[in-house]
Amino acid sequence: MLLTGLVIFFACEDRLDKPPLGDTEETFFTTQDNYESAVLGMYAGLTYWYWYNNNNCIHMLWLLPGDDMTTKQEWPFESFNAITPDDYRINYYWDMTYAINTRANIILEKVEQAAEGVYLDADLKNWHRGEALFIRALCSFKLFSWFGAAPVITARVTGLGEQTKPPSSTGTQLLDQAITDLTEAATLLPDNWEDKYIGRATSNAAYGLLGKCLVTRACYGGGNADYSDAIEAFNNISSDVQLTPQFYSNFDAYNENNEESLFEFQASEAPGFDNIWLSNDFGSIGSMLGFFGYFNNVWSWWGNPCFVPTDKLLNAFETGDPRIDETFRSNADAVFNGWEFIKYTNHDSQNWEGCSHNNNRILRYGDILLLRAEAYLQTGNAAAALADVNSIRERARNSVPEGNPPSAVPADLATVAMQDIMDERLRELAGEEERFVDLKRWHAAGYVNLGNWSAADWGPSLNASFDFAGWFAATQGDMMFPIPTDEVDLNPNITQNKGY
């Protein structure tokens, strides 16, 4: 034993060299498969937005502010009362969107640095770059839509100091970056993927989102040039992309990634066991599921008042529009306040915990056609605009159960005005992620004046403390969420949004 002591005493220090129990960044990016995994990991980040999140799901951030949905619960995003920068969901949305953004930046950096011979498939390298640019653009678009001014981050930060304090963007910088990224992504990405990879970003998705960003920028001062570029981008979408015969196919768990789809969150379920309380970053049991329990009061919504259609939405449809039966139905239960919103839940596939396999449709062709109609109309091509709106209306009246004759309503419009497009978007896209973003950009473009809106214009809200006017005035018409307290505290180069 004395000898043992002596031996160890004179032994080398390499007994302190303990290899890490897993791959390190240094050793990882050496095969094409590793790159493929990292890209998958980037897509997995989308789960951050759509999962149940320990009963803290954030869908209400984009569902409640619009005039299409309301609820009895006094959520600040519905009442516009006391939206505060320390709100958990706002902090989470910000942090997670940037976490996804960073995953995209890491892919871009690593693809750039890939050694000769790592990629066996030359196309794949371009596709990976295109996918990362697409995801980064999606993050930029969301940040612009909800926070307005947020840092544009296009490179991975790997240290402390000034680089950790990026400045707030100004004007449409976030959209500009998204447009740059998508313009390149569209040329890099494939038109489609082989069956087992369906759901990854395609050139069609890139053109679609590019056009959407351009239309948005047009509203915020970009004007006709952006509308024209948007039309061009939309027209680059392949003819394989079309409206589905049935409206509801877009919300059907068993008809995902269909011909109308451009990009979806691929809700799934961890094999073996999906723990809805654990994030996707938690080993193989982290949750991959989406959540719609706020619509249909599954047990994991814990009996909270549900998100229900506003009177405005209930009255927005012409009697006999087949879309009604796929959008809401009456329900006397108190939590529904009379009406249950059924868009995503009517053809859902849920697991026993009430979480869903149904994909959130992030971008679909129906949305694109209405955006294109808007761009045509604003650039003076009313006929083309009318054709696009009517194609939506035509699909709507054909959306009847099998064996039934097409409905007479909604009939084709004879002429089209901006109000028609706005109304059609409410009917077609209610309860998706669009409404409040639409209202804000239309306000910016002057098509509506939200400053004059009152609770009655909202549907009205079921919320007694509803105070849109107060919020509108406080934010000086910006209608942006606050920049989270943490970001403001930690980053002196951030400007807080107006009103907070």
Partner: protein, 1090 residues
């Protein structure tokens, strides 16, 4: 080869002096009655050579004529005698009345308390055996200055919190435990529990460690003493991981003499003395009706179970008391110990076996422990010694009532709707007489499973049913062994090689009966578990096997020498520690048969079987040199330098050097003090030193790839499965930080130890600890994209770690002891007090972090409570108007009479104040959260009284903490009057109503539009307390009688109690832990020696 040079130096320092040797013999006796003292020590002063007395009190050793012999025996005053030309020296020793003679274990040796220069507290076996806990940590509570122990509850296996001199860091602040020289490493106790490791998340690692206290695998009866090394000089010898203090546990050894057989028996009963007072069904229904009626917007959401006109109305059910059946009334604890020890001049041995069986004061939890230990030391020749110390412990644990099923203890029971029954005599047999918590069925068999709560929206799990059907057990095995060889080629020069192994195994078996879903409010469709079919599954079963292996090799060289009045001792030590952790778990949802001995994960059911493995490893090395010098026991100097290496850091930052010095001056030995006859002893001492803490994320200097993210593609109508095809992804959660290195804590001490009138010991010292380079998550803004999701606000971030922050702790430590006698009555009084002033000095960019329950901010104590301040209750509408005229509360939707109003203390940040500005700004918003309390106690203390009269002895021990606040979670759960359906405290009967506007509690309102229940000082209470911790009354049968009635040498019987009462302003069950309060224990025991 720097190391070998150090080594040579030690050789050169060894003097070679030769003296004529002569043999000295004699007898050592007790001065009071002349009986021989067996095992008394005779040492040549300044050396480590000496002898001990045999069973007749006789000794013999050879010594040079100029040598000074030191005669000592525990509890007696040491004498020193010059040999001169004498060959016979008989000595009678006088019983000591001071603590000066106590031997204190200082690590790699021991010293008399009078010669200690650093800050060390100790507790001896006498006090240890009085504790009723299976865990030795609780024996330290209140008995030592500078050591704060917080009991975590009444489960025999629960793990207390121990902090030495405040809280150094918000990383891992637990002290290092060293058992007989073996530093204990437990996986999950370090930084991996914060950051995760090896692909396993932090939460998973905490679950792996949970809930077992591995210290409960040491039998307190085998412990001779516990020393706590508090300052850098003392702890430096265990420098690696010693920055948070070191707890040295030394176990018993045999003493010279004929075999001594001891038997101890203890039996006790435990009870939790308090319960929450909650509403009966009538008051409960009234409260909820009023709560909804008060909110017109949501009044129609009142659940039908509260509506008398509804068929679902439950208000006519009888009231069920959920708390009492949860208590295991008079929970027994039993402890049996049998020890045999003895020794000859060359060999000593100690063997013990013990059995302990302790039930929790909650039902369905217990721990049984079987322990055996041996310690044998022998001199092979005059210059070669060897020894082995080995303990083996096996423990069985049943852990049903609290931990395994995520139970919330008494609070969960108290908030259960009072109409929900526990028992159901008409239930199907598989429910074992317990009431189901749900209604369930199939709308379209076998699809369309539905389940709803049977007892209203807050109807809870029926834990009683779950406990009856399910089971979670642990089996633990611990092997802890040390063996050494020591060579002493020259007198005073020793080389020692030691090999120690701590091997710890933890197995968990979990059984869940398929029918237990009926007691669960979030049940799984039993069909998905295979309830229906030919091979019916009857449940799920899982096993988890974990192994902790810790191998420590040490080599040390020491030299002790006296030159006249100069005494030196030198120590050089090299340590290498290799830690390995591995484990595997497996479970299956498809179990066909349950017998105790055979449950398999049926091979045909692979698709339902999950397996997982875990592993981690690390290594530490340390080289240490210590020089001790004292001149005539008057001037002392100790210096230590150590160099530590850790595998946690990048190669270039792996090693840290940590020096420490301390000095003491015995003033009372100076001639000018000699005429102060009342001053027996006075020593001033001081020291400074530095220690390292390596507890940070494993391999944080590398950027690890996470293979956790997963995603699916390929879901199409053609595939027909909305789940698509599963793929594993990869992500980089953070980035490499190669600069990461040791966190360093510097300690400065100054104090004195005094003895007055030979009876009064006083020790007072001031300490100042400064921790620099705290391994802090750098906490980047969210836009940097290193955040990960979580369910707290803000989301915890997977932030890069860097050596950033600083914390200081300072305070005083005072201990006083007095021993005296009046006739045959001997008495002693002891007390100690410690103060802690903790403050964060610097942080990453000085940005505050943490949440309401543990905020970290520069200028405040670590983990302070940060919340709104309640101003009062709006008594009427005028008060609301007046308040709103001055102040807008941005966090409320509306305020009405009966709501709480909150104070406007701070405003929004400005240029110079980046986080908030002080002073009112007419808005109450999140900037108005402020300091409302601290979680580190400002002071803690203990005091005890001991009386001995003839054969009778009585001891009483009190212990307390002060200047501490805590969030009263039970109060929040039982007084918020907003949680849908949870039962509430009877205090809510005195709530604000239009006819009771002077109430202390606000109105009941569902939805809480006034945000009355925000985290505020409304829920913060003073958590200070004084506890009557222990009382023992014993009678020792006189030896003459004892030996007549049997073979007893000694026979003592005693009765006692623990936690007899507590004085506290806290309104919950126990300020230390409301969830699992400490039990009140009455016990009795017999100690026999043969």
């Amino acid at each position: 080869m720097k190391k070998s040079i150090t080594f040579l130096l030690i050789f050169l320092l060894c003097g070679f002096q030769l003296f004529a040797q002569q043999t000295v013999t004699g007898t050592i006796t007790d001065a009071t009655d002349g009986t021989p003292l067996i095992g008394a020590t005779i040492m040549l002063r300044g050396t480590t050579s000496g002898s001990i007395t045999d069973i007749n009190g006789k000794y013999s050793l050879s010594a040079p004529a100029d040598a000074v012999l030191t005669f000592s025996y525990v509890g007696f005053v040491t004498q020193e005698i010059q040999v001169g030309n004498r060959t016979t020296i008989d000595v009678s020793l006088v019983k000591s009345t001071t603590q000066l003679e106590e031997l204190v274990v200082i690590g790699y040796g021991s010293r008399q308390r009078r010669d200690v220069t650093s800050a060390i507290s100790s507790v001896t076996s006498e006090d240890l055996v009085k504790t009723n806990s299976m865990a030795p940590e609780l024996a330290m509570q209140g008995r030592m200055s500078g050591v704060y122990v917080q009991a975590s509850g009444s489960e025999p296996y629960s793990r207390p919190t121990v902090r030495v001199r405040g809280t150094n860091t918000w990383g891992i602040a637990d002290p290092l435990y060293v058992i007989d020289g073996v530093p204990i490493s437990e996986y999950g106790a370090g930084a991996e529990a914060i950051y995760g490791a090896g692909g396993t998340s932090a939460a998973a690692i905490q679950d792996l460690r949970h809930p077992i206290n591995i210290m409960s695998l040491i039998n307190p009866n085998d412990i001779e003493s516990i020393s706590v090394l508090k300052d850098a000089t003392a702890a430096a010898i265990y420098g690696v991981r010693a920055a948070n203090g070191v707890i040295l546990i030394t176990t018993k050894k045999g003493k010279i003499g004929k075999p001594v057989v001891e038997f101890n028996f203890k039996y006790g009963i435990q009870n939790i003395p308090q319960k929450y007072d909650v509403l009966n069904v009538d008051d409960y229904v009234d409260l909820f009706q009023e709560m909804f009626a008060n909110n017109p917007d949501q009044a129609d959401l009142l659940p039908n179970v509260f509506r008398p006109d509804s068929a679902e109305y439950l208000g006519d059910m009888p009231t069920t008391d959920w708390q009492t059946p949860f208590l295991n009334k008079n929970a027994p604890l039993q402890d049996y110990n049998l020890k045999v020890s003895g020794g000859t001049e060359n060999t000593n041995y100690y063997i013990s076996v013990s059995y302990n069986d302790t039930e929790s004061p909650y039902i369905n939890s217990w721990q049984k422990r079987y322990a055996l230990s041996t310690n044998i030391n022998t001199n092979i020749t005059k210059f070669l010694r060897t020894g082995v110390n080995y303990r083996f412990v096996y423990s069985d644990i049943l852990d049903d009532s609290n931990n395994q099923f995520g139970g919330g203890g008494m609070q969960e029971m108290a908030t259960q709707p009072p109409w929900q029954p526990i028992y159901n005599s008409n239930a199907p047999e598989y429910q074992k007489g317990y009431m189901e918590a749900i209604n369930y069925g199939y709308t379209n068999y076998p699809d369309g499973w539905w389940a709803e709560r049977k007892w209203g929206p807050a109807g809870g799990m029926n834990r009683f049913g779950e406990m009856a059907l399910n089971e979670s057990t642990y089996s633990l095995i611990r092997n802890l062994g040390t063996a050494f060889v020591e060579l002493e080629p020259l007198q005073g020069l020793k080389f020692k090689g030691t090999l120690s192994i701590d091997w710890f195994y933890n197995r968990r078996n979990e059984w869940s009966d398929i029918y237990s879903f009926v007691f669960n409010i979030t049940p799984t469709d039993p069909l998905t578990l295979g309830e229906d079919g030919v091979d019916d599954s009857i449940g799920s079963y899982g096993e988890r096997h974990l192994r902790n292996t810790n191998i420590i090799s040490e080599f040390s060289a020491s030299y002790t020498k006296t030159f006249g009045d100069h005494n030196i001792d030198l120590l050089f030590n090299f340590m290498d520690q290799q830690f390995q952790y591995e484990g595997i778990s497996g479970s299956s949802d498809q179990i066909f048969a349950r017998t105790e001995d055979f449950i398999g994960f049926g091979s045909a059911m692979n698709e339902y079987t999950n397996t997982q493995n875990f592993k981690d490893h690390y290594a530490l090395q340390g080289i240490m040199g210590r020089v001790g010098y004292n001149y005539a026991n008057k001037y002392y100097l100790d210096a230590t330098v150590r160099r530590d290496g850790s595998s946690r850091f990048a190669e270039e930052n792996r090693w840290g050097t940590f020096p420490a010095f301390s000095a003491a001056w015995r003033l009372s030995a100076e001639s000018f003090m000699q005429n102060l006859t009342w001053l027996t002893d006075l020593k001033i001492r001081g020291g400074w030193g530095q220690l390292g803490n390596q507890e940070t994320k494993a391999f944080a200097y590398l950027s690890l790839v996470s293979r956790a993210p997963h995603y699916a593609f390929g879901s199409t109508a053609a595939l027909g499965d909305p789940r698509g095809l599963f793929y594993y992804g990869a992500a980089l959660p953070d980035y490499p930080n190669e600069d990461l290195t040791w966190e360093k804590t510097s300690t400065t001490n100054i104090g004195f130890d005094a003895n007055l009138f030979t009876a009064l010991d006083i020790s007072l010292e001031y300490y100042y600890k400064f921790t620099d380079g705290i391994l802090q998550d750098s906490r980047l803004p969210g836009s940097i994209g290193t955040s990960t999701p979580g369910n707290v606000n803000p989301p915890p971030a997977n932030q890069p770690i860097a050596n950033i922050a600083q914390v200081k702790n300072q305070g005083i430590e005072l201990s006083i002891g007095y021993r005296g006698s009046v006739g045959d009555l001997n008495y002693s009084v002891n007390g100690n007090l410690t103060t802690v002033n903790n403050e964060v000095v610097k942080m990453y960019e000085d940005t505050p972090m943490g949440d309401e329950y543990g905020r970290i901010e520069v200028g405040y104590p670590v983990n302070y409570l940060w919340a709104y301040k309640m101003g009062g209750i709006f008594r009427d509408a005028t008060e609301v108007t007046n308040y709103q005229a001055k102040t807008t509360d941005a966090t409320v939707t509306r305020q009405e009479p009966g709501d709480v109003w909150f104070k406007d203390v701070n405003g929004a940040p400005d240029e110079d104040h980046p986080f908030y500005t002080e002073g009112a700004d007419s808005t109450v918003n999140f900037y108005d959260r402020t300091y409302v309390g601290k979680t580190i106690p400002g002071f803690f203390y203990g005091f005890s009284f001991n009386l001995e009269f003839k054969g009778f002895d009585l001891s009483a021990f009190f212990q307390g903490v002060g200047d501490i606040q805590a969030f009263n979670n039970g109060k929040w759960a039982l007084e918020n009057m907003n949680n849908l359906g949870n039962n509430q405290s009877t205090s809510t009967l005195e709530r604000w109503t239009p006819t009771n506007t002077g109430a202390d509690l606000p109105r009941a309102i569902y939805g809480d539009p006034g945000n009355n229940n925000r985290t505020s000082d409304r829920w913060i209470e003073n958590a200070g307390y004084l506890r009557f911790a222990n009382l023992q009354f014993g009678y020792t049968v006189p030896t003459a009688i004892a030996s007549r009635i049997g073979v007893f040498q000694n026979l003592r019987v005693w009765v006692g109690g623990s936690n007899l009462f507590i004085i506290t302003p806290w309104t919950g069950l126990d300020p230390e832990n409301d969830g699992i309060p400490s039990p009140r224990i009455f016990n009795l025991g017999v100690d026999m020696r043969f």
